[in-house]
Symmetry: C2
Amino acid sequence: MKKNTLLILCLCCFLITKGENGYDLWLRYKPVSNHILLSVYRKNITQLITGDSSATMNIIKNELLTGIAGLLQTEIGYHHSVTRDGAIIAGTPRSSALIRNAGIATQLQAAGDEGFVITTKKINGKQCILISGNSEKGVLYGAFHFLRLLQTEQPITSLHIVSAPKIRLRMLDHWDNPNRTVERGYAGFSIWNWHTLPTYIDQRYIDYARANASIGINGTVITNVNANAVILTPAYLEKVKALADVFRPYGIKVYLTARFSAPIEIGGLKTADPLDAGVQQWWREKIKEIYTYIPDFGGFLVKANSEGQPGPQDYKRSHADGANMLADAIAPFNGIIIWRAFVYSHDNPLDRHKQAYDDFVPLNGKFRDNVMVQVKNGAIDFMPREPFHPLFGAMPQTPLMMEFQVTQEYLGQGTSLVFLAPLFKETLESDTYYKGKGSTVAKVIDGTLDGHRLTGIAGVANIGNDINWCGHPFAQANWYTLGRLAWDPAISSEQIAGEWLRMTFSNQPDFLKTASQLMLESRDIIVQYSNPIGLHHIMGTGHHYGPAPWVSNQQRPEWNPVYYHKSDSNGIGFDRTVTGSNALAQYYPGARKQWENSHTCDEKYLLWFHHVPWNFQLKNGRNVWEELCFQYYTGAERAGKMRDTWNTLRPFVDQQRFEQVSMLLKIQHEEATWWRNACLLYFQTCSRLPIPLQYEKPGHTLEYYKNLRFPYAPGI
Amino acid sequence: MKKNTLLILCLCCFLITKGENGYDLWLRYKPVSNHILLSVYRKNITQLITGDSSATMNIIKNELLTGIAGLLQTEIGYHHSVTRDGAIIAGTPRSSALIRNAGIATQLQAAGDEGFVITTKKINGKQCILISGNSEKGVLYGAFHFLRLLQTEQPITSLHIVSAPKIRLRMLDHWDNPNRTVERGYAGFSIWNWHTLPTYIDQRYIDYARANASIGINGTVITNVNANAVILTPAYLEKVKALADVFRPYGIKVYLTARFSAPIEIGGLKTADPLDAGVQQWWREKIKEIYTYIPDFGGFLVKANSEGQPGPQDYKRSHADGANMLADAIAPFNGIIIWRAFVYSHDNPLDRHKQAYDDFVPLNGKFRDNVMVQVKNGAIDFMPREPFHPLFGAMPQTPLMMEFQVTQEYLGQGTSLVFLAPLFKETLESDTYYKGKGSTVAKVIDGTLDGHRLTGIAGVANIGNDINWCGHPFAQANWYTLGRLAWDPAISSEQIAGEWLRMTFSNQPDFLKTASQLMLESRDIIVQYSNPIGLHHIMGTGHHYGPAPWVSNQQRPEWNPVYYHKSDSNGIGFDRTVTGSNALAQYYPGARKQWENSHTCDEKYLLWFHHVPWNFQLKNGRNVWEELCFQYYTGAERAGKMRDTWNTLRPFVDQQRFEQVSMLLKIQHEEATWWRNACLLYFQTCSRLPIPLQYEKPGHTLEYYKNLRFPYAPGI
């Protein structure tokens, strides 16, 4: 490519966009800013040699050439043999003789079927870097990892990396509807344009697959768990096939959600009873049909008998009956069934917290080998802070899959900067005590405690058709986090924040220090100003936008905030001890004892497990009312400080993204103040205690906040 | 800016996007490819001098610097006085002494309050180019026109341009709903993100205003004519204000749609009767409130008593009563009321074609001075080909505003390449004969025939949140066309296609010749394969996607295709002569006589005005059935040829946009074949005549086409 063409292209796009629109995510491949490193990189990266061509190998080749051209600002040659130092050799032992004969069999063995080996080797007397794996998918992951080393300005002179994913299924769950609305979506609408599929392949589909491959995601459920049977009709299967064909060379399998009543709705049957032979036959044929379109179809994700969805219980059958029926039908094709444990009964329950456990523990071991039970990180519903779900460790004979929520339904939705890695890590590192101390949720999920080979982590996607994919520029970090933690739950939040910031914004140390602090504190801040000391589920009804602790008119008790905070003149909090719902009994003693006594309970969860009087003393000497005031005011104040912090980063960020984040932080600060005022004014009607004088008075009355309406809030 | 930074930026964005995503529309400012011209431009453009700074003047300055840097690949200096040849001087007589003293008063007078003067002048002995207007808006239009000269590689050595818009209101009507769905939108969803407004200003809002200013659009109705009163509540007026503040410096006024029943829905009144004092008072206060937010608010667009919308007839009042009530309330603020003439009665009408005329002609002259009546180009509804609306020329005392549809509701929606300039021009150049021969629709609209000063052309927008704004890359040309024709209805389709292609793709002669031919034929082609020889309104129900001439089960007769084609064993077509509905009587004799006799009728409109037997002979010797077959088969065949034509243009177009268009043309060809087969198979059940043997047999049965369902087609 001639330099003047380059010069040309760039001047315009730079001048016109006045910055970056965020579409390129963490794959911007901007030039290495450290000039010493740059020259080292240029010396060590001079040519590329890849294995036999294939769809995936071509992607690897193009990605490496693209990335290196952007990062090193040099066009390296593509060769068939090593002719000089600095050769990059990418391939599998099968596709490349150089790899086959490089003597890295041991490392390759350790890499497993999806992992990769990146190692420095002398070949024909030349210094080379090998990027290898036993599968092309592994090489692809290795190529992206190698580019990440350059993007994050790491040393590459002596590489000896062997990396294999700790989790087998690393998935995104899209709650996308056929009309392109996205349930709990805050980044526009669905990127799946069903109307123009299968013929029109939006560039987004390709870039979506590429971005996921770059962080190791290998599965995607493209339809909402509140499922629509239309996706199983031939016209739509054609469209799903088109997407699967795009995703395949990136190592990504497509999954669908199965509407349990589909045999009635599109099959013309009278029943969907899983024990009915006709129903079983219908699913066998439907699944066979799907595999004619998509030979590597991943399987079904099923939400059954939950929040009004049809399921086996409609026919007095168990979840296992339902899951196994589908599992038997899909087994011949090596597909799997992912069955959600997020259920709660239609009749007034004593404590929704207990339902999933009560329904599923009796089914431990009753599921087929190709069934996984997908469990949310907490027992209620993706709250800003929840104790880990008691099902973890309680179903040893059934592989449990983690369901995180990447989209920020309860964490500021599209307008808040909240980095979710600390939340995810908090759950993964929680100790279930199921096999004694150290039986962390991570070890349950990765199969080590029970020897499960089928393991998985899923994240409810935060992706929409906004130009920058995720709406909030920092929401991209949560997509990135899901992939990285699913690859290795042990990676630290600091590590993830650092990688993402370097690739997305800048490698400048001054920028990184401040920006990663901003990210790492953000989740604590939103907990403080929205759901402090164990409060939960006190948000607005339906759209879940903003505070509404006063709501008590919802048809089902567990849909009402008052059900969860139980605030009254005596005190506040949900008693889940023996004197209350005793949900605590679902935890192993080791876990239970950190929470069961209100005086020793980890105060982060005080009101989660205990109903305490307003004058209840906390360790810091404040009573519960004073503590609520302290938390809400401190949280809102810290939300305001985030704006000041961001303003100091202006020199490091392009104008467009800088201003986007500035405006969003202003909204977040307003929302934080709104949460603070609305919640304290409401709880004050119970505590009848004054807001301490050192705090500014709420700007509006409780009535004002109660009367706010958002008829068109997104994500419903 | 240092060249290496430029080099840097570009390499990545170029390599990563593998082409252009279309976001930059016709404002790409790519380098001038003709190197002789480039050196001439560089010689004649060396420095920029602008008038006193202001929001608009800063936009002008930045646009010129941005455009020139991109086009000429040189950074020209910004100066305060002319120091060398090649100075560009931009400003108004008020803001710039250089302009004031340049001796161009006569030209400026001719430019009027929105026009511009671009002229070559010697100033202080230096060769300069003056870009001037009496208003900053005029200078802004001039700046974009000057850049267009460079983008389209025109000579600039001796410029003497005076240009003033022929139409005063040049508007886009957005049919955007508060939930971000877009009625008849095929480019994603609404670009108005109401939830994050007013604080979050999406870059799109700015780029939208800029794109409109570049083609002279000076007004935008941001809400759907099927209106929602929520937009008139304070929370939403805050949001509207934020958009108005963004648009203002680009010379664009904001208009809203007024739901006629708003006084009841959000005002708590018992009635919306326009003669009720309380209702009048409510609107006076509401309008006063709006102007406190938006001091230059444009006014209301109203769809009343049409398709179920509320209106004055609900209270036995006339359209004039309704419009005048609002006009009186808004007059003190110099706002206007745009009242739509698209109405048809609730009771079974003899011919929907006649309704608007019958309802509105009696109201001629009964409207206030600040009311315009907005009339669709044709009497039915934006059909692929319609005779001009008989209202044009029939209400001389009332200014009529043209309503075109830029979004392709009936012209292939989001998947077809159809250039609409020929359609718009066909209407504008139609002769109403109202003041004798030459009384064209254009002359009615531009006010010359009746001396109206209030004139307007509106287009229903085709803009959505797809990255390229319009979904189909060529749909951008229709947005561009609306602006250019509203500025001057006399500009030819060839001129518009040429300008747009040069700016959007390439100035290469080989490209331009073929691509403009492709565009100029496209509308004829879709008429041929969907609605030939005067057929109309035979599309799918609801979503209006694809053919459905068989539909006869709709509640209202005029919602059924069979109502429009009246096909039966005797023949086909809608008799609108004296022997039928006599809609022809609504036209002046000069116009009428080209259509009233089936044997002399312009055959483009044969079935529009006549019901003729299947064996009716056309001038070409074919009978009607043979002609239908000929038209449908030829049209579908030509749609296929468009693909071959596009393939020859691969060398001139970037990969991403080339492939987008290729895939869409494939869909269009499939849709054309579908139209052909479905329509001919259906009409054959009436004609009972064979499809001539030279044509390939339809691939499916009529039942197959009748059973196609599109439950989630866009734009409903």
